[in-house]
Symmetry: C2
């Protein structure tokens, strides 16, 4: 196993950071490594907002479920799926931008995710720690106002970057044969077979160094999926011009 | 710059592969490296279909704009955004799955993308080449039939993996200051300023080793965005249970 694969397998989110900046050269390298990701039809449909203003940091932390590390991480980036830039290219060439297709929403969302994950890998390769902040989608409209996001863009998630001040355990993943199928999806007639994964996750949660709880994976999923899931998202995205057709 | 960051910055898609398999151990390692990616609320909402059946490969290639490398790559993987597995967890615990939220569509799409990009990085670190196949979304319903995809899943994209049999140039990315903004999106009053990027892309397309053409980036975007973009996607996704609310 080579060092890069070892690095990838060792990922865990970091939520406690040293009070120490990321050097400018390294930071630029991280962003360039991100940009090098593949992009559907070469749209490069992502804009990254680097939030350095302490007031905006505090505001975003409060909008994202009061996660303190949004304020305390050396860097906080907001990844915006962005079809606005491509629409501006239509203006340059006197063409009419035909936005609003669900396909474009997928392209921009995936582009943002691929760039972000490259930045994550680059960061971890340099010894930095990261934490994705999906909770920006708790209040996407307010987040958009704070960052002056134009039409045809939306904040997909945030990303905290910094030098780790903790060393949490790696969380066990689903058995490979649950996630990887050959030639067809293949639903089991007897229902979902997770092997001993539920016990593995329960053991992880019960013994990890912080925030211990008693919970299996299927219990966690069942709890998540039997309640509403950010029910404002569809209306919000439509006001931004997405998912019209 | 460390070797991982150097690797990331050197990415280019590979569309011509040696007739040589990927060793089983390495392949398993790639998938595990993929699974180690962060996952929103730990949903792990992705299922990867490894397509080894030559008939299914041929069918998928024909559904994806006849891209030959879908057939000729050592491995072809289809990444499915998957809320079905989590819904099955509700069955296990006698809860009712509340699927169909747009938020869940985002979670599953992003999860699939993060896992895929980790697999891409792992693959390239081992000397393999990759090519994303977004064209599976040309015919997502037929793709779903070929792979027996259940409700609450959809094929986000495919991924070709194999040993490279070509050495294409790296495509120039947007200037970093176009993609990275500080504290706000900041639309320029005079319209989009791409610096000399349009010429850089035109130069790349005019001189690359294959498939040369005369095209700037803004011309390419204008052309793409002034036509319809897979207009079937919204209806397709709704039939699979996504984007209901």
């Amino acid at each position: 196993m080579n060092p890069t694969i070892e690095l990838l397998k060792g990922h865990r989110s970091i939520r406690q950071f040293q009070n120490r900046p990321i050097q400018t050269d390294l930071f630029q390298d991280l962003i360039k490594a991100g940009q090098a990701a593949a992009s559907s039809n070469f749209f490069q449909a992502v804009t990254i907002i680097r939030v350095t203003d302490p007031k905006k940091r505090a505001k975003l932390a409060s909008l994202a479920n009061n996660q303190a590390y949004v304020e305390t991480a050396a860097e906080f980036l907001v990844f915006c799926a962005d079809m606005n830039r491509a629409a501006s290219c239509c203006d340059l060439h006197g063409a009419e931008a035909n936005t609003g297709f669900t396909e474009q929403f997928i392209i921009a969302t995936v582009d943002a995710a691929l760039v972000a994950q490259n930045i994550v890998v680059a960061s971890e390769s340099a010894g930095l720690g990261i934490c994705y902040i999906g909770a920006l989608r708790n209040n996407p409209s307010e987040v958009s106002t704070v960052l002056d996001l134009p039409h045809d863009t939306y904040p997909v998630f945030g990303l905290c970057l910094g030098w780790p001040d903790q060393n949490p355990e790696v969380k066990p993943r689903l058995p490979i044969d649950v996630v990887l199928r050959e030639n067809s999806y293949g639903i089991e007639e007897d229902g979902l077979d997770l092997g001993n994964y539920d016990e593995a996750v329960r053991g992880y949660y019960a013994t990890r160094s912080s925030n211990q709880k008693s919970m299996s994976w299927s219990e966690q999923m069942s709890g998540m999926l039997s309640k509403e899931s950010r029910p404002h998202m569809l209306d919000f995205l439509k006001t931004k011009g997405f998912l019209q057709k």
